[in-house]
Amino acid sequence: MDFGLTETQELIRNSAREFLADRSDSSVVRAVANGDTEALASLWKDVVELGWPALTIAKEHGGAGLSFSDLAVLLTELGASLAPTPIVESAITSRIIERYGSDALKSDLLPQAAEGDVLITPAILERDVSWEADSATMAATRTNNGLVITGEKRFVSFAEQATHVLTLVRTDGGEPALVVVPIWKSTGVDQTPLEHVSGVPVSSLTFNEVEVSEANIVATGDEAIAATDELVAAGAVARATQLAGLGRAVVEATVDYTANREQFGQAVGSFQAVQHHLAEMAIAAKQVNHLVHSAAWSFSQDGYSVERAAQAKIAASEKISALCWTAHQCHGAIGFTWEHDLHLYTRRALAWKTDYGDSAFHKSKLATSLGL
């Protein structure tokens, strides 16, 4: 066991902190939440420049070939800064294509993804908002050249910025297929932008007889289910890792506020009730931090630990949003204002809590894995 950062990881962390402090302060977060797509695009350009989308893509495909564990270090910083940029979407779709896709598809897409020339985002959920791969119903008809897709996917993050979606369909025979759809070049794809608590772009997409070539099929049958499960697990750990960073930032902000705000002639943070709130918040943040890094460690080129992924998301979903609410309690009235940044964290925590499976979903996965 080693809870310390490697040299590479320290480098990632320090450069991320420096960059994000400058380029993703709360004014940028607020601008993007207000629909400023230029701010978002500009941040993405810089992020590409730093090589973050390339981080975990194999060297042979133009990436840096770093591990999911290394990525996790970056994700905590992205979480702490609430950076509105689709690194998670990019990293997990790249991973699934790398692990399940054909050599041709990999050679085609991964170098472009590493360069930021394409952005592939997952499109999994349908009307029943279930993360269970089995529940996908979007119809795909087989043709000589590939598939023709008709149906709807909901809650697709950064769909407005994405060039492709990685989506799960069900073909005529009932067989599932995981497929990359180049939405920027396809006809028949319509977007409905949603107004979402996350403060980043989220849309629903309708597919009306959208043609996709055979080459874009990543996996079919049981393999498509396994790949989707892995996509969801990777997304869950990534969101949990962002939540870990977010939680750390909220603890720090709350310590800072309560140590300085005075009432009854005392720093508010000297009252035992507030100290105990903060002690419990700090324990929770540290626990989530360890669980997410343990889960991230388990993601290798051979697979991942279903248990650790579930535990990371269960703990992050429950503890970090609860921690945000307790932070509000410690901040009192000032934290209830729009002007104060605290609610930006709370909103993002609410979004990430549910994204890629809420705690109930992952508890059920974990229970099965524990032999129940």
């Binding site: 959920l125 009307r127 029943d128 908002v129 909901r154 809650f155 409905t192 932008p193 949603l194 107004e195 979402h196 608590v197 996350s198 989220v202 629903s204 005075e262 009432q263 009854f264 002639g265 009252f271 035992q272 009730a273 507030v274 609410w325 509000h328 309690q329 009192g332 009235a333 934290g335 209830f336 204002t337 729009w338 002007e339 104060h340 605290l342 609610h343 709370t346 609410l350 979004a351 549910t354 994204d355 809420d358 109930a360």
Partner: protein, 398 residues
């Protein structure tokens, strides 16, 4: 003991309910998410309806335009109104200032203000909190200096709900800066149109403008606007805070939310209708509805004590803690049931239950903070209710 309402009480509850059936729009989700002029207009219109039915100040004595109704009737009224998220109530005028003027105001003040409140003609706001005096109200710094027949006020109030709609404010000011904390404070009535008052909006985390900061720059107020004795404002002002606070609105809000969720998941058109057969959801709803009932009974206990002439001081703290905590829990659970839909904002395409649960959860954040944080309420319960001692001196805790 009797754990049921009288026939008269049930009948009254039915009357309110039928009235609300008539006047509330379909799918009414509460005015809480409308901070615009339309919602203010609706509030005014509802208040007129309440005046017509003689409900607005029903708890007041007949001589001031009320019906001398019992605390139980009053709580039933508050319960039903909050349960339906009905607008039109006027907490500041009818429930806070009115009773205080009856107890401490002089004849002229009563004549001038009580009738207007009873007729729903005037909107009051409350000037207590200051930027550096939140939980610790006794440390307020806004000064009022007597200059001839007028007080001259300088300072700032904050978290002034409805400050931008109010005609009048009742406010705590420091009239004797040499006295220790509580002793140098007075209560004044101030016309919001007086020169030198500036109202600055504060938007809350649910993106709603309820609060304001109110700046006082040499604001001159007639001496006659002093309520009670000079420097006795702490006693007068705290009476306002303690008056008839059953906390029923939180339990009522929680009850409404949980019933709405049950109906919602039982509707097969709901995208998350699978929740209704999920044993974990079933168990959680049972658990929450038990907590809601537990909180509700605490409120009616406070009301009963009030009717019996017993002092319900720490019991009101209990009902506040229990009510606000369960209200937040029920809303959290609503978001949990809604899953990804819980993240959609009011007005978003594909929002379920109009996106109201997210907005309500944001708004509910304040309930455990304002009117005395729940931490302070627990201190009150322990010290006043259970008789536990205070810390004697600096604690060496480690």
């Amino acid at each position: 003991m009797r754990f049921e309402f009288t026939a008269e009480e049930n009948d009254f509850r039915r009357q309110i309910s039928e009235f609300l059936d008539d006047v509330l729009p379909d799918n009414w989700g509460g005015s809480t998410y409308m901070s615009d002029d339309d919602s203010w207009a609706m509030d005014q219109q509802f208040r007129n309806e309440l005046v017509k039915r003689k409900w607005l100040v029903m708890s007041w004595p007949k001589q001031y335009g009320g019906s001398d109704s019992s605390p139980m009737m009053n709580t039933i009224f508050a319960d039903e109104m909050a349960y339906r998220r009905a607008p039109g109530l006027d907490g500041f005028g009818t429930r806070m200032l009115g009773p205080t003027l009856m107890a401490f105001g002089n004849e002229e003040q009563r004549t001038q203000h009580l009738g207007a409140i009873a007729r729903g003609e005037v909107q009051w706001c409350q000037g207590y909190s200051e930027p550096n005096s939140g939980s610790d109200l006794a440390s307020i710094q806004t000064r009022a200096v007597l200059d001839g027949d007028e007080f001259v006020i300088n300072g700032a109030k904050i978290w002034t709900t409805m400050g931008h709609r109010a005609d009048m404010m009742f406010m705590l000011v420091r009239t004797n800066p040499d006295e220790p904390l509580h002793a140098g404070i007075s209560l004044l009535l101030v016309d919001m149109k007086t020169l030198g008052i500036e109202v600055k909006p504060i938007v809350n985390m649910a993106d709603i403008h309820h609060f304001n900061q109110v700046i006082f720059d040499d604001v001159r107020v007639p001496k006659a606007n002093l309520v009670g004795d000079l420097n006795d404002g702490w006693r007068v002002g705290m009476t306002i805070l303690n008056h008839e606070r059953s906390g029923i609105e939180f339990a009522a809000g929680a009850r409404a939310a949980i019933e709405e969720l049950i109906v919602y998941i039982n509707n097969d058109d709901s995208p998350v209708s699978q929740a209704k057969s999920d044993p974990n959801i079933r168990i959680k709803i049972a658990e929450l509805s038990t907590e809601v009932e537990a909180a509700r009974l605490l409120c009616y206990d406070v009301t009963w004590r009030h009717g019996e002439g017993l002092e319900p001081s720490f019991e009101a703290s209990m009902s506040k803690v229990a009510g606000t905590e369960i209200y937040q829990k029920v809303l959290d659970f609503g978001l949990e049931i809604l899953g990804m839909y819980g993240g959609l904002i009011v007005g978003s395409p594909q929002a379920e239950l109009q996106g109201r649960f997210l907005k309500m959860r944001m708004l509910s954040t304040a309930t455990t903070i304002f009117s005395g944080t729940n931490e302070i309420q627990k201190n009150i319960i322990a010290q006043r209710g259970l008789g536990l001692p205070r810390i004697r001196r600096a604690a060496k805790t480690t």
